[in-house]
């Protein structure tokens, strides 16, 4: 279905269990809907097993994890692990403020990509890049998306090559 024919894709929107912020979810629900999504918004403090249950129930084309409280990196890993454990594969993106310091952003993005995220949107122009991602997904499907590789800071290069080697 193309955008012109109504809702182009189904999107499950969630945060992580420890995160009670939901202005980000309210905003993203509207934003995703305006970009063609039929959104189910699970609200604050969502346990990972509820996310799994809702993925099974709603069968989304895209799972979006938004977290801003600083514990989202861990929380997103838990969601990815639970999905794997349940044998579910669904395109999943994360974004917001995933740790307590912006200097972690490159590392966190790299790690979540290696754990199975389709993409991770952090920092100043996250929303613009997300809009492009949604437009791509509507045309080609979210699973076909290739995230640009994050720039590796020189002091992190060793760690990155280690994790690639694994």
């Amino acid at each position: 279905m193309s955008i012109g024919e109504g809702r182009a894709f189904r999107c499950l929107l969630t945060t992580v269990e420890s995160d009670s912020h939901f202005w980000n979810l309210i905003y993203l629900e509207k934003f995703i809907a305006e970009n063609g999504g039929e959104v189910r918004n699970l609200g604050g403090c969502t346990p990972a097993d509820l996310v799994v249950k809702e993925v099974n129930d709603f069968q989304p084309d895209l799972l979006v994890v938004s977290s801003i409280n600083g514990h989202g990196y861990y929380g997103t890993s838990v969601v990815l692990t639970e999905l794997k454990r349940a044998g579910i594969s669904v395109p999943c993106v994360a974004g917001g403020k995933l740790t307590t310091a912006p200097s972690d952003n490159d590392r966190v993005r790299r790690e979540l990509l290696s754990q199975g995220c389709t993409d991770v949107f952090l920092g100043e122009n996250a929303i613009d890049r997300f809009r492009e991602f949604l437009a791509f997904g509507v045309r080609h499907g979210f699973a076909a998306w290739q995230p640009s590789m994050p720039v590796v800071a020189p002091w992190d290069a060793r760690v990155a090559s280690l994790s690639v080697a694994q």
């Binding site: 202005w23 609200g43 604050g44 403090c45 403020k97 307590t100």
Partner: protein, 424 residues
């Protein structure tokens, strides 16, 4: 006799100085102690804070320690999970009559946290059955109400001077008309009193418009006097709790304006944000700077009320009183009344996604930049309360409202709505 917090506040009040307080919390014990020590060493009237991390807030006392061991930072201090003797050591030589310490924790089921703070030798905390449930948890409001009742009784049973600050004056931190915030904090105060708490603070979070804010705090003081005559209370103001300016100048000026608001309206205590608010967890140094800035800005004579303030006062008073009365009429038990009020939509927090909130109300900014009701849902207002139907909000319009204060301060126009002659 009274506890450290009440005595400290009473002293500062006598000297007409504002007490400032950070919202600081670190996962690591040594970092938390260093932060408390530096705040303690400031030469301004200041109260210390232990802000609890958000694993603890949702009752997960395992992940906090595991994540610390994995080398990650937390967004607060896991007071339940760290060994109790370590927490006591952390406080030794700092906590005392000259440096009260409050635990701020955002838990809907607070008993474990309150037990821990009591075991650590503390007696002062924050919360409330509504304000620590609907913005902070998915648990049913009814559970939070009974857990908070039990925890209040536990606190006053265990320590002589248990003090609780209601978070009702903040709720979701932004886009909520002042009358609902005031009604909520007064109602939570009544709830605390019903469960034996004799010492409390009532809160208000700075909004979007100076005159409206000054009027709101005055309404809060008047209603607290009327409804809570037999407990010891003071008013705590929160520096703007919504989307914060991202530039250092904008953030600093907003912090200053909150200190002036506190001064003008005789708030006893101010919880201060930092220049890192829009970004991520602030450093100790940023907290210290912000506390100094706020304390200095609160100097000087209070500004007297202007004519517009009187109009806001009448409007907020009418709405807040109506909400309080309607809720109290539902049940003699304040907790039961609060639960029913939400079920009936007589209380309804704009934009709040919690399942026990009807989410039929909205809030808009008027052409003055003041907070007004959009839809009033089933709120019990009569006649004169105007609705400003918002229609279907687009994401960009929602963001414009959320970002309104940040935008003004980041562009050096804190008083834009007031015209060129506008002063504080």
């Amino acid at each position: 006799m009274s506890g450290y917090m009440d005595r400290f506040i009473a002293d500062a009040r006598r000297r007409e100085t504002l007490v400032v307080q950070p919202r600081m919390g670190f996962g690591n014990i040594a970092t938390m102690r260093a932060g408390l020590r530096d705040v303690h060493d400031l030469d301004i009237p200041v109260v210390g804070t232990i802000t609890v991390d958000s694993y603890t807030r949702v009752g997960d006392h395992v992940s906090s320690i595991e994540r610390l061991k994995a080398g990650e930072e937390l967004n607060g201090y896991p007071i339940v999970s760290h060994p109790m003797d370590k927490t006591r050591e952390m406080l030794a030589g700092l906590y005392g009559p000259g440096f009260p310490i409050q635990v701020r924790h955002g838990t809907a089921l607070p008993l474990r946290v309150i037990e821990s703070l009591v075991l650590a030798g503390l007696d002062t905390t924050e919360g409330g059955p509504v304000s620590y449930c609907l913005p902070y948890s998915r648990l049913p409001l009814e559970h939070a109400v009974s857990a908070w009742a039990e925890s209040c009784r536990y606190l006053v049973g265990e320590v002589e001077h248990g003090h609780i600050e209601s978070f009702g004056g903040c709720l979701l931190g932004q886009l909520c008309p002042p009358s609902l915030l005031i009604a909520m904090t007064v109602l939570e105060g009544l709830f605390f009193a019903q469960h034996g708490v004799r010492s409390m603070s009532l809160s208000y979070a700075q909004g979007t418009h100076d005159d409206q804010d000054r009027a709101a705090v005055r309404v809060l003081r008047a209603l607290a006097q009327e409804y809570l005559p037999s407990v010891t209370w003071h008013v705590v103001l929160y520096t703007y709790m919504g989307l914060f300016p991202s530039t250092p100048d904008g953030a600093t000026e907003l912090i200053r304006s909150s200190a002036r608001l506190a001064r003008d309206t005789h708030c006893e205590r101010l919880i201060v944000k930092t220049v890192s608010e829009a970004w991520q967890i602030p450093s100790v140094a940023e907290n210290l700077d912000a506390l100094r800035v706020a304390s200095a800005a609160a100097g000087g004579p209070p500004v007297v009320a202007g004519p517009q303030e009187k109009e806001y006062f009448d409007e907020i008073m009418e709405e807040a009183r109506c909400l309080i009365e309607e809720v109290l009429n539902l049940d003699a038990d304040v907790g039961a009344a609060l639960t029913r009020a939400f079920a009936l939509g007589l209380l309804d927090i704009p934009f709040c996604l919690h399942a026990d909130n009807q989410n039929r109300t909205t809030c808009v900014l008027d052409d003055q930049g003041a907070l007004k009701w959009g839809d009033i849902g089933n709120l019990p207002f009569r006649g004169s309360v105007r609705q400003n139907a918002a229609g279907q909000l687009q994401s960009s319009e929602l963001y414009r409202m959320l970002n309104h204060v940040a935008h003004r301060y980041d562009h050096g126009q804190p008083n834009r709505e007031k015209g060129d002659d506008g002063k504080f």
